[in-house]
């Protein structure tokens, strides 16, 4: 009964996370980070490692939640813990080559699938990040404002001092084409 209640609460938190509710994110973060920190420190990791690994796990959780078809079967804590463990295991293995896997790192939940699925998305994210990083200003900000922050062309024109929205729009298209080119060049070679 208690476990059931816990899962119900966890599912609510997850719904909140999917809706980008800051409160849910904060709850999840502050409740689960200490356990992961402890685990990473125990396995020869640093605090920064713990932060990276944990945030990666949260991103996975977030994207799963956004897809909408994610069904939480275990407690959120268990899920995050095993995902973190798996990520850290992979990191340690790739860094030190043949590193003996501690027996207590053996999986309790099949987190491997989840983590492997994530690697494609991570790749896309990295390509987009580098593309964004290399187009320079003001393109970056214009595109971010329009496509991500969903600001209107009017606002953007005022912010960047364009005489009218149409000019800003033309600039935006130019930027978008450049970004697309940068993105797809890398995307197609990497796949």
């Amino acid at each position: 009964m208690k476990q059931h209640q816990d899962i119900t609460r966890d599912r609510e938190l997850l719904l909140g996370l999917a809706k980008s509710d800051d409160k849910s994110l904060e709850t999840i973060y502050s409740e689960n980070f200490p356990a992961v920190l402890r685990m990473i420190l125990q396995h020869n990791g640093s605090e920064d490692d713990a932060k990276d690994v944990f945030q990666e796990a949260i991103i996975i959780l977030y994207e799963k939640a956004c897809e909408g078809n994610f069904n939480l079967t275990s407690r959120l804590k268990t899920f995050l813990y095993s995902v973190c463990r798996h990520i850290w295991l992979k990191k340690v293995q790739s860094t030190y080559g043949l590193y003996a896997i501690p027996p207590e790192m053996e999986e309790t939940i099949p987190a491997a699938e989840v983590v492997d699925e994530q690697s494609t998305k991570d790749e896309q994210f990295r390509i987009m990040e580098s593309a964004m990083g290399s187009i320079g200003e003001p393109c970056k900000t214009i595109l971010e404002d329009y496509y991500i922050q969903k600001k209107s062309m009017q606002e953007i024109a005022e912010k960047f001092g364009y005489t009218n929205a149409e000019n800003a729009k033309n600039q935006k298209y130019k930027c978008l084409m450049r970004l697309k080119k940068l993105f797809f060049d890398q995307y197609n070679t990497s796949l």
């Binding site: 200490p34 920190l37 420190l41 605090e47 994207e63 896309q124 994210f125 964004m132 729009k169 298209y173």
Partner: protein, 364 residues
Amino acid sequence: MKDDMNLLREIERYLEGEMSGQEKAVFEELRKNNPQINRQVEEQQFFLQQLQHFGQRQSLQAKMDHIHRQLDMPTLRKQAQEENLAAKRVSIRRRTITNLAAAACIALVTSLSTIAVLQNAAKNKSTAQYEDVRRVLNNIQRSQNALINDINNKSKAPANPGTYGGTGFAVSGNGYIVTNYHVVAGADSVYVQNNKGEAFKAVSVFEDISSDLAVLRIADSMFKSQPLPYTLKPQNAKLGEEVFTMGFPRDEIVYGKGYISAKTGFNGDTTAYQVSIPVNPGNSGAPLLDNQGDVVGIVTGKQTTSDGIAFAVKSAHLKRLLDEMPKDKSMKKEMARKSHLEGLNRLDQIKKLEEFVYMVKVYN
């Protein structure tokens, strides 16, 4: 360049739903006929999705960084370290305890099994393999029988049936009987009873502990002397020679047949034979006779580890003992020169022998 930009603008308008119905229909027609444009539309869709993801993820990352900065890292760090230390200590302690316990268990098992093995070996050597075949009498049943006998016969037989029983046989006509020492050891009084049921009081006149033999003399006026039909064979019996015995493993005389299976007795004892013959408690002191009806040995015990192996003191040894006996015991050396049983068939031999084999009852 310009065319591309126009196309992009068109695509964006199409995707954002800014086109009017007619424009949309035209564009969809175009999309259907021109695969290149179609591909660009899909590309744009995919790209926008990617951009969306990128944005979401970036904002999430920013939020998380913000939260992370608000965490009380020093406290968390301290907690984690303490917990890890505690876990390590516990696991070390647990490991030590497990090892110690395992070592203790092994030590215990080793010492216990050593003790068990040693004790077993000691027992095997002294008692387990060798068993006297004197009989512990069944007190209650026998005492009832004896009581009835007492009332009916008013005989002089003691009411108490005795504690131990064995067998003995006459070595002289005037009432000297040989049995095993272990039968009469520690006895208060000894009675012998023949196959007719007549009991006589007897006293032990000579004991030889080393060869486990005792000589009894019947001290009873009722006893009538009669000549012996057999002799003590002075030579050793041959290996494989057929022998038979008569004894009292129960209240009735019991006949048993076997053969000499070795020329030495238990643990290489040269004064005894190993005999393959069925013996039971009560057979101690029974005579071992050969086909001619000469006494070749006295049954003394059997090996418990294997069935059908008994031991008997050699008659030559008995003869030597009798010769060494103090002369003042006035034992008549009137052993027959030649066995009267030779040439008789077994049934007749037994019939004659019965009278000279006694049940020895010991009271203490």
